[in-house]
Symmetry: C2
Subunit: 189 residues, 2 copies
DNA sequence: TCAGAGACTGGCCGATCGGTCAGAAAGTGG
DNA sequence: CCACTTTCTGACCGATCGGCCAGTCTCTGA
């Protein structure tokens, strides 16, 4: 046989394990030692394949980041309503494709998103948030957009629900949440 | 003067600074050194006032945790609709009272909530989530509840919006998001 | 056969982590 | 004045962190 059978590709395996560990224990909470142990190699091997721990994170989040950039670009020419609808479906699908990586970016730590690995990502999330808000600057619309955006990302990470079912539920809640506040239900009190 | 003027209460100051740092950089991302430097005392002083770093976290989150327990208890006797309404308002107010601490609990790391400092907190968040979902076990309802719960907590942490305005916006988006999926808007595609 | 390349590792580095401890400094009551 | 408590600190601890490096494998092509 031409390919070693015990491990097809150490580099990919490192990425896979790192994605799991980062998502579960956090970036700072995961050590290279932890990843190496799970992969079944030495810590030095990690740093042979990757320049640094940060480099692992960067490569891990790169695909999701570029897909986000594409989504935002595709949204731009659309009118407000169409952009909102496309943003909801596009983002839900994107997040479901990259559950762990997406959750990593929004790990609840404001500082985190400003790290070098995520440089240039912030404008895209802001554009997406604006699309969610129907490009309104109203506080209610912006807050709703932020709740939906962060809520979706946080939820998908450790749920074991079926993807199709999850997708439908996420799109549903996003549509409802992002309805114009004037269409809001029983606005008593 | 009877009280030293440069610092009223070192212990309280430590808690205040720790709350800021934890919320901004994360629990694991904040060292005792960092906190001590900001407070203006030595690291040993932190550990004179608190048994450990975990103890700081525990004391920091204790008030919010007990208030959550009270809220959940108050919800229990209510019928489904009333419980949902009360849960929304009660939780939004609770989170606004404890912005940084609440965000700390939901720091995006699944592992985190299982830490000793938060022992016994999980059942309460689950009960609250159930109330959000109108005590329905349907996937759509549960997912919506989770999105709202985590979204709210994540949003409040680093926004500088006015509390009253934020409160109205959060309650609004929560009500909309938690509408029964059957009342959902334009369910095309 | 052997030189070279790629994959990998043990051992080590300085830095920093949370935490301990003996003791200094500053008040307080007798 | 002294004994005592409270508050605080510098020095230090073992462990672990991310990262580095010399060297060891295995495979491959000339």
């Amino acid at each position: 046989m031409l390919v070693p059978m015990v491990r097809v590709n150490t580099r990919d395996e490192i990425l896979r394990v790192a994605a799991e560990q980062f998502a579960h224990t956090g970036y700072k909470g995961t050590s290279l030692q932890d990843i190496a142990a799970e992969v079944g190699c030495s810590k030095a091997t990690l740093l042979y394949h990757f320049a640094s721990k940060d480099a692992i994170l960067a490569e891990l989040t790169a695909p999701a980041a570029s897909e986000l950039a594409e989504l935002v670009a595709a949204l731009e020419p659309l009118d407000d309503d169409a952009a909102q609808a496309a943003a909801i479906e596009g983002f839900v699908d994107l997040v479901l494709r990259h559950r762990r990586e997406a959750a990593l970016v929004y790990s609840g730590i404001p500082k985190f998103i400003t790290e070098p690995a995520f440089a240039g990502l912030l404008p895209h999330t802001e554009a997406l948030c604006a699309a969610f808000a129907g490009r309104s600057a109203a506080v209610a619309a912006c807050v709703a957009a932020e709740v939906v955006l962060t809520g979706i990302v946080t939820v998908v990470i450790d749920t074991d629900r079926d993807a199709a079912e999850l997708r439908a539920a996420l799109i549903g809640v996003a549509r409802r949440a992002l309805l114009s506040p004037s269409d809001s239900p029983h606005d008593k009190d």
